[in-house]
Symmetry: C2
Subunit: 173 residues, 2 copies
């Protein structure tokens, strides 16, 4: 790493040399991701969900009754995160949890009627956000963005171990 990366110092002719290193892709990525999360959060709040819970529900809508460990792996989250999230969502009436008769350690999770009722709203919110996000981008640009993000994701997944979720393979499902 003798890289001599003039990280910040660079008085680059770029558009925004604002505070220390604002020119990096990393910064922009973090910034965009936060805006995206906030935007999704607004849409979800009207539905009675918190950011992150919609992914859980999507998995449940697709798979019916699932073991909690499956959710943990498919969402790439920490087990404790899933446990607590499900406890809250159960208390809100969106999911039902029951012991797995085949494995007394495991817990089976399924969406309730109320949970199913959210599906249309969430899918609509998701599509709406996607559209708003990509407004003004040509199809080719959208494809390129998706491709580049995928490459970056692989880089990061490689470095961070091999956990995390898998957007592409969609093995099951």
């Amino acid at each position: 790493m003798s890289g001599t990366d003039p990280v910040c110092t660079a008085p680059s002719a770029g558009p925004q040399p604002s505070a220390s290193c604002t020119g990096t892709v990393s910064h922009t990525l973090a910034w965009v991701a936060r805006l995206h999360r906030i935007a999704m959060g607004r849409r979800l709040r009207d539905l009675g969900l918190y950011p992150g819970q919609e992914l859980m529900m999507m998995r449940l809508w697709d798979c019916g009754a699932v073991r909690q460990s499956e959710l943990i792996q498919s969402l790439g989250l920490d087990p404790s995160t899933v446990t607590k999230m499900l406890q809250r969502m159960e208390q809100c009436g969106y999911v039902r949890r029951s012991p797995d008769p085949a494995d007394r350690r495991a817990v089976l999770v399924a969406a309730t009627e109320e949970g199913l009722a959210l599906r249309a709203g969430v899918e609509n919110a998701w599509a709406d956000l996607e559209q708003s996000t990509l407004a003004g981008l040509a199809p080719a640009e959208r494809a390129e963005l998706a491709r580049l993000l995928g490459l970056v994701g692989e880089n990061l997944a490689k470095e961070a171990g091999e956990d995390a979720c898998a957007p592409g393979p969609g093995a099951l499902c």
Copy 2:
């Protein structure tokens, strides 16, 4: 278990909007951002910082003594988030907070010696992550990714109101 779950039933052709099936840019973006945050978190932990604190420190390194409200605006965070973060960072010895003599409501924040000592490590971590993130991407691809992310960011910033952080204006100190 029994393979072939036609879960994502739609064998349909084309861009099935079936929300759950992970094809959207939004999904990929959220996924990549999470990996990115985790990767940065690892690097920061070795330095004694938590994710998000490095942005605060960067601002302080650049601006010297700043009013808290300035930090709030430049980082685009909630006031309470900044208050609590600074309280912890002060207790860790990275920053010092003092009342502004010119405005008895305001608080001036500045990095301590210990805080300044982190600068090299953070910049190095940031550069290292940037490199790891963009590994395998040609310069043109990196530029294109930055451009597209910028466009997406503008879209989201527009919709989310006028707050959020601004990599652009860089009104800076």
